[in-house]
């Protein structure tokens, strides 16, 4: 649990203020959706399909139940479009006839008595004509014997640099592998939920757990056929999200709103209990990667050839974007003249997969980093040495054809990681340990990677984010943006950035609640963009506000909180405009060809080297992470404690991904281990030390050179841990989670 700032900063003391939302949370008075006071509330519940795709023949309501007591909503009640607003309108809000997976919503019910509601759920029976051969596997989908959509392919991308055939000639050593990664559940401790209330003026207020209030708003506009002015979406305190609350809240909000429209003015609370949340909400895309790497005898990569496929589930949702990021990150932070990455997102009859921290990158980086160790093995070379030979330096061309400038710290990250862990010393120590016949075997493994922050390429341009600052008469300033606090510290970081830019103490600045009736659309809270992109906009807005106060309210060139307050008072008294808005402008050198995957894919890459030390019990084959060191260059740590918390939490999720977490499927393609007893995440007793080392090069696109860090920690742990276990046991591993059962099979059968 140590934090080392490699670059000492004069303002370090001031850089760790307390979280602005901390006190309410430790007192237990922060209000999550299930805590919101709502007089006269009725509860919602959902009747869902049971077959893995097919057609709905009939919906029958048990005549023994008095349905007049209930609010009942079906597809016919949808005033607008029966389509969840996303990249494509292929997913229905409520099933009308055709459906593609088990667990799709068909009927919504609401009642004030939860016991009656529970019984009524059983009173609705569906007659489904099932799809006789559902698809649940990526390669089965690609074989396309049955088609959900043409060829079962949502998206097909190709990143193609140089000529792989030429690279094959130059490669003296080639490895070929097939890797699998499973789905993974975000497991935010607060289940999803919404509270919808038809107001007296006919407008609808929806409050709830979410990452992106404007996504929810847009979905409501489409589904209810109402315009924005009659809809209001407010984010309540959100108990974790990790991407899992990026798109699905739109579905729940539409459901709750549809019920609210028929509820006679009573608020409708639709909060999922854990089992339902596990079964139906989107999870990480499973992946299958075929990979060939070729190097010359000196260890220099000559070609990378990957066939990367992800399971998108039954509807397109976010799969094209997940695939894009997966493809861009697949070849790693390496220089290699010949690269081909073919990426495909396929359709299956699983519930749709969606966003989860990392968003495609953990899957492809896993394959690349384990393949690199395989290559190192064949070259009889130390894995760290192989990385050193191939990691990008300033002046090199990266896999998307971009020339690396000064902001290239891959080597610095690797060097710091090797030094911090006494890597070579440990390597020798573990080798000796393993030869001595102890009850355990130990290994040390690494992964080097880079993570692009912000939306890919032109994405930010399309978002056209806007942020406003509102000056109040008392000299306080409110930040108005649609970015949400969900634990990652956005509220604190954005306030810190604004306060710093305005020259004010933090307690004079407040982040307004994300309420679409008040805040502009500054884009979704995803893609590690908040600090970097939105923080930067806040800085710009702060500059505009100071300028206005100087020009119109006699604010002096150098001010303090008092003189600032006086200037605000003067501006208000003169009925001046106290609101400033900054609009996103793309950087001048952001050229990105999204068809060819060519150019600068992201505003900033953060560079990382992660090292895992593991111990495997020889008897049970259970793996323990002894020590974990996460080194990353992140430009500037605006709030070091928050950054440390993000890295530690992300690494913990990565350790779960590597060792414990597995989504098991039942015969209908739905999560079978739909209870916390059976979906295993690490407890405090399972996690050892996580050392966080931050390097700050100051060259990121965000405030004072900051880069996004939220997702980066998810990329490194799984390959580092697998590489360590492979070394400890001298076996080849091809999938995660690395369960003891798998290790037993591999060690008993001889390893390869």
């Amino acid at each position: 649990m140590s934090l080392t700032l490699m670059k000492q900063r004069p303002d370090q003391q001031a850089a760790t203020p307390s979280r602005v939302d901390g006190v309410a949370k430790v007192r237990g008075v922060a209000l999550y959706v299930d805590d919101l006071p709502c007089a006269d509330v009725i509860y919602g519940a959902t009747v869902r399909t049971t077959e893995a795709g097919g057609t709905l023949q009939e919906v029958a309501f048990d005549p023994a139940i008095d349905w007049s007591e209930f609010v009942v909503v079906t597809a016919r009640d949808i005033p607008g479009r029966n389509a969840v607003k996303l990249l494509e309108d292929d997913q229905v809000v409520l099933v009308d006839h055709a459906f593609r997976h088990a667990g799709e919503a068909v009927v919504l019910l609401a009642h004030a008595d939860q016991e009656k509601l529970r019984k009524a759920l059983k009173g609705v029976s569906l007659v489904e004509l099932p799809n006789p051969s559902p698809i649940f596997d990526i390669d089965a989908a690609l074989a396309a014997q049955q088609e959900i959509i043409p060829g079962n392919i949502y998206t097909d991308y190709l990143l193609d640099r140089g000529n792989v055939a030429e690279g094959e000639h130059l490669a003296g050593v080639v490895i070929e592998e097939r890797f699998l990664t499973p789905s993974q559940e975000q497991l935010y401790i607060e289940p999803q939920g919404m509270l919808a209330h038809l107001q007296k003026d006919g407008s609808i207020l929806v409050e709830g757990s979410m990452q992106c209030p404007y996504y929810v708003l847009d979905a409501l506009v489409q589904c209810l056929g109402m315009d924005k002015d009659h809809l209001r979406v407010v984010q309540s305190t959100t108990g974790g999200a990790f991407g899992g609350k990026e798109d699905y809240p739109s579905v729940i909000a539409c459901h709750a709103a549809l019920l609210a429209l028929k509820a006679g003015g009573r608020p409708v609370k639709l909060v999922y209990e854990r089992g339902e949340d596990l079964r139906v909400t989107p999870k990480r895309h499973p992946s299958r990667t075929l990979i060939r790497l070729g190097a010359n005898k000196a260890g220099e990569l000559q070609f990378i050839d990957m066939d990367f496929a992800i399971d998108g589930g039954a509807y397109r949702t976010l799969s094209p974007v997940v695939l894009s990021r997966g493809v861009i990150h697949a070849p790693g932070p390496y220089k290699c003249p010949h690269i081909r990455v073919r990426g495909r997102a396929v359709a299956t009859n699983h519930p749709p997969f969606g966003a989860f921290r990392g968003f495609g990158a953990p899957q492809s980086i896993f394959a690349m980093e384990v393949a690199m160790d395989r290559l190192a093995g064949k070259l009889a070379m130390d894995p760290a040495e192989l990385r050193r030979i191939n990691l990008l330096r300033t002046g090199d061309v990266n896999p998307t054809g971009d020339v690396m400038g000064a902001d290239c710290f891959a080597h610095a990250a690797l060097d710091a990681a090797l030094e911090h862990t006494h890597y070579y010393h440990r390597l020798a120590e573990y080798r000796a340990w393993n030869a001595a016949g102890h009850q355990t075997r130990k290994g040390i493994g690494l992964a080097t990677f880079a993570h692009g922050a912000g939306f890919t390429g032109n994405g930010e341009l399309y978002l056209a984010s806007r942020v406003s600052l509102q000056a109040l008469a008392n000299g306080h300033v409110e930040i108005l943006c649609s970015n949400t606090e969900m634990g990652q510290g956005a509220a604190t970081t954005l306030v810190q950035i604004a306060a710093d830019a305005l020259g004010l103490p933090m307690d004079c600045v407040h982040l307004a609640q994300a309420d679409t009736s008040r805040v502009p659309n500054s884009g979704p809270t995803v893609a590690s963009r908040t600090c970097m992109v939105v923080g930067d906009l806040i800085q710009k807005a702060a500059g505009q506000l100071l300028q206005r106060l100087r020009e119109m309210a006699a604010l002096a060139a150098s001010h303090d909180a008092q003189s600032f307050a006086a200037a605000c008072a003067r501006l208000c008294a003169a009925a001046g405009d106290t609101l400033v808005t900054a609009q996103y402008q793309p950087p001048a050198d952001m050229r990105w060809d999204e068809q060819a995957f060519l150019g600068r894919a992201y505003a900033s890459y953060a560079w990382a080297a992660y090292i895992a030390e593991v111990e495997v019990d020889v008897l049970t084959l259970a793996t323990r992470v002894l020590d974990f060191t996460a080194v990353q260059e992140i430009g500037n740590a605006v709030h070091p404690v928050i950054v440390q918390g993000q890295i530690e939490g992300g690494v913990a999720q990565g350790i779960g991904y590597a060792l414990y977490e597995d989504v098991l499927w039942n015969e209908r393609g739905v999560m079978a281990n739909d209870r916390l007893t059976n979906y295993i995440i690490p407890t405090s007793a399972d996690l050892g030390f996580i050392h966080v080392v931050l390097l700050e090069g100051g060259l990121g696109a965000g405030p004072k050179g900051a880069k996004g860090v939220g997702e980066l920690p998810m990329d490194g742990p799984a390959p580092a841990i697998v590489n360590a276990i492979q070394q400890a046991l001298d076996i080849d591993i091809r999938q995660i989670p690395v369960r003891p059962e798998m290790l037993l099979e591999l060690t008993v059968s001889g390893g390869n």
Binding site: T620, N678, D686, E741
Partner: protein
Amino acid sequence: MSDWIRPRHLPEALELLAAAPRPYRVISGGTDLMVESHLAPERRPESWLDISGLQELQGLQITEDGIRIGAATSLEAIRRHAEVVAHWPMLAASAAVTGAPPIQNRATLGGNVCNASPAADNAPVLLAYGARLEIAHHHGSRWLPYGDFHQGYRKTALQAGELLSALWIPYPPKHSRGYFRKVGTRAAQAIAKVSIAALIEEDSDGIIRSARFGMASVAATPCTLPSVSHYLLGRALRDISETDVRHGVRQDIAPIQDIRSTAEYRLEIASRLVLEAIHRRSKSKKED
């Protein structure tokens, strides 16, 4: 609305159990039953008999030949009891790996036994220590070796009108050593994939005088290893063949594949654990 009766004295509880027209659901700590009641509300019992207030079922008493543990004693109280730690360390260990602290503060030893999960955390240890159950009925009490309690998947020897009132555990034999290990899905709040407790008594020549085993999650009920115990009896440690032990284990257990693990893993790890228990010369472990 269901009935909830909370008698103050054991005789009262036994009267109620005997007279009940429909069976009562007996509840002590509630850590299993409250989950069941919430996740499967259609199977919610109509009548509950709350025995958490019965003093006769609480507490631990040292006797001449061992310890009597009231069935409604919490795992937390058992885990920290000085006599248990000193003389029955495997029980302190198994209590400490049942769930996690908030579970142990409420869960009871009797509850763990009567819930009769094949994965019951404390069952292997009770089998290895040769525990006896004190089963009360309004006509009197009877004693039953714990090894005879589990009759089938979640089916126990408790008859209508009977209540488990206490568990008696004898002092382990003088020259015996215990071995306990739980292999779970993670280090805490875990259901066992395989669990073993062993109590092995050797004489001064290294000949095994007795070997009792208890295992969880390898059969429809917690089970002993009769073939293995029989094989080891009278055998010197150096004369024990791994092949023979493995053969015995295969005869004594019937592991299955389920949501947590595979039959192959359970069989192999069970065999390894038994071998480790036999050859290990250290105190009990609470691993994984």
